[in-house]
Symmetry: C2
DNA sequence: TTGAAAGCGCTACCAT
DNA sequence: ATGGTAGCGCTTTCAA
């Protein structure tokens, strides 16, 4: 192992000077700096992170805590965070803590402690109180993405507003029987997101005088989840003409289900999502676009600022979701009657 | 900050004894051990990873390098690795290095150095030589998953065999016009996987005397990629009756495309995948099941063994993929003629 | 501008 | 079984 002492010796300077020259945070004669840098290079010198950490008190590591990495939204945020951290030369320590698993308990108990990381980005963590207590113990700045982050900074979209827009879009097209598909109380890392979106849907329905028609079909926020729920909803007697998916995955599942049932989208049923998932385009899905990678990047910016200056007050960054109209939605009066529906009488 | 000295003082012992009592790696009287543990607990003591690392030379951190985290296979391996590491109390440092990006270059140049991690798991890294040279510099054990890992341990399935099985399945059903869908030379982290799978397909075709019918439609290994490629392949004059998808994502894209074109799966075209993706069931996809989470776990086991005993020889773990027959495949003579096909004359 | 030396918090060796 | 102590490799005063 090559130490900074070796570099110093080769360059003919002291350890102190070598350190200064390499870190660049202090004045060193240009000539000596060059000599030191060359020496370091020729020896393939790499500083020991442990020693640096011990001496400076900084780990140059950022923790990222999230319920899962295998859903689109989370993977995108993670990639955004990663890209931003790499740019700053910081390491990313990942903790996947699916609610209700022993791993999550272990992570909260053993890993969320100070001195492992300079800061934490908590994605989609809807923590019960004792869990937040644990997070506090890391004694480093925390920034949340989605979820709830009492007393910390937060990056998120306005979920209520997004769902309201989606619902209003359907309503403006003349739809009256609009169902809200997906969302469950125990959904990992998204319970309050779903609550807010359902609220937005309800609000739009109520504003249109359709409060009595509010209908929620719960489902896991996945494509298969949306598929199964849509099979139920669309197979029922009182089939809706519009579906607001809690997210694109659910909406896509609904589209696939509709097609399997022989229904045309948007001919027989209009569907919207929220996300602008990578598959949204291929399904011509009308949706509200959010940019999870950008949220990841924003979280890093916020976090680094607070690490730099801990006195900074926690802030909330609310990004807006933009409506993207594709062709999974259609005006009700342009729609055709679905086979076997109760309006079969109007049919072709 | 509470140091081990504080714990020792409170417990009325020396730092040395406190350290022994807490790490448990040395004999300490049960009574004193208990006292120390209680003291540590009451003070909320957490050891400084930097200090431990400096003193022991172990970081208790494992690096994970992969091209992307947003494709199913990779996210699953990652979750498998994460779960296994948590169990051992090790931290996971994630590096997403998409080929061809500046981030990748930066990661290989600045992050892949010794003293940051005790070992590395490289997933789907098909490194050009200079990149592998860099990896060697971390001077710690490396285990590969998929990809190529010259001189290191590797965990993977036999891709050639898997594709051969898939192709043989179609062949056994009587299909003759079987096309291989997906795979591209520049596919991030999977070029050689795709090469091997294509080889398996070719081998099966050739063995069946269909060497002349071998046909490859390249596409990105994603659902939209498979969709687009399948639209082309199925829209062409010489439409195949069987499709071997390079992976489930491509196969699913093909199924969606077929349905959009008004073709029945498996009535008009049979489709197989490789993976057993989480959506496979919902699409009734016949596929070869591999367990990426298990591969992640296996990689951790292999890596920890080599960290424990560096003299251990690199080994290759080859997991087998199991054929799962669902209903995306059908015997050719049970199939129906597709609309607008060249066999339209036999049609209903 | 440079060098000497004192820690950072912990473990592990050597005593006892 | 326990305590004293010498580092681990780096940064950062303080002096020169």
């Amino acid at each position: 192992m090559v130490r900074i002492a070796d570099v110093a010796e080769l360059a003919g300077v002291s350890k102190a000077t070598a350190s200064r020259a390499l870190s660049g945070r202090d004045h060193v004669a240009e000539a000596t700096r060059k000599r030191v840098v060359e020496a370091a290079e020729s020896l393939q010198y790499a500083p020991s992170t442990a020693a640096v950490g011990l001496a400076t008190g900084r780990t140059r590591r950022i923790g990222v805590l999230m319920p899962t990495v295998s859903r689109w939204f989370f993977s995108q945020v993670l990639e955004g965070v990663q890209a931003a951290l790499v740019k700053h030369g910081l390491d990313l320590m990942l903790y996947c803590a699916l609610p209700g698993t022993p791993a999550r308990e272990r992570i909260f108990r053993d890993f969320m402690r100070r001195k492992r990381m300079d800061g934490l980005i908590a994605i989609g963590i809807e923590s019960s109180d004792p869990e937040w207590e644990r997070l506090r113990q890391i004694d480093a700045p925390i920034v949340g993405v989605v979820g709830t982050t009492p007393g910390s900074s937060l990056v998120a979209i306005d979920d209520t507003h997004a769902a309201m827009r989606a619902t209003e879009h359907l309503l403006a097209l003349g739809h009256r029987e609009v169902v809200f598909l997906g969302g469950e109380a125990r959904d990992p890392g998204a319970a309050n997101v779903h609550r807010d979106r359902f609220t937005g849907y309800t609000r739009a329905m109520t504003a249109a005088g359709l409060g009595a028609s509010v209908r929620h079909v719960p489902a896991p926020s996945t494509v298969p989840g949306g598929y199964a729920a849509a099979v139920d909803a669309l197979g029922s007697q009182d089939r809706p003409t519009g579906i607001v998916g809690v997210c694109d995955e659910v909406a896509i599942g609904a589209i696939i289900a509709a097609r399997r049932l022989g229904l045309l989208v948007p001919g027989h049923v209009s569907v919207t999502g929220i996300d602008d998932h990578e598959y949204a385009e291929m399904f011509s899905l009308t949706t509200l676009s959010q940019k999870p990678r950008a949220q990841g990047r924003a979280a890093v910016d916020l976090l680094l600022a607070r690490i730099e200056d801990p006195s900074l007050a926690p802030s909330t960054t609310s990004l807006k979701a933009r409506l993207i109209v594709r062709s999974s939605t259609l005006a009700l009066d342009a729609s055709v009657a679905a086979p076997g529906t109760r309006d079969g009488s109007h049919g072709p």
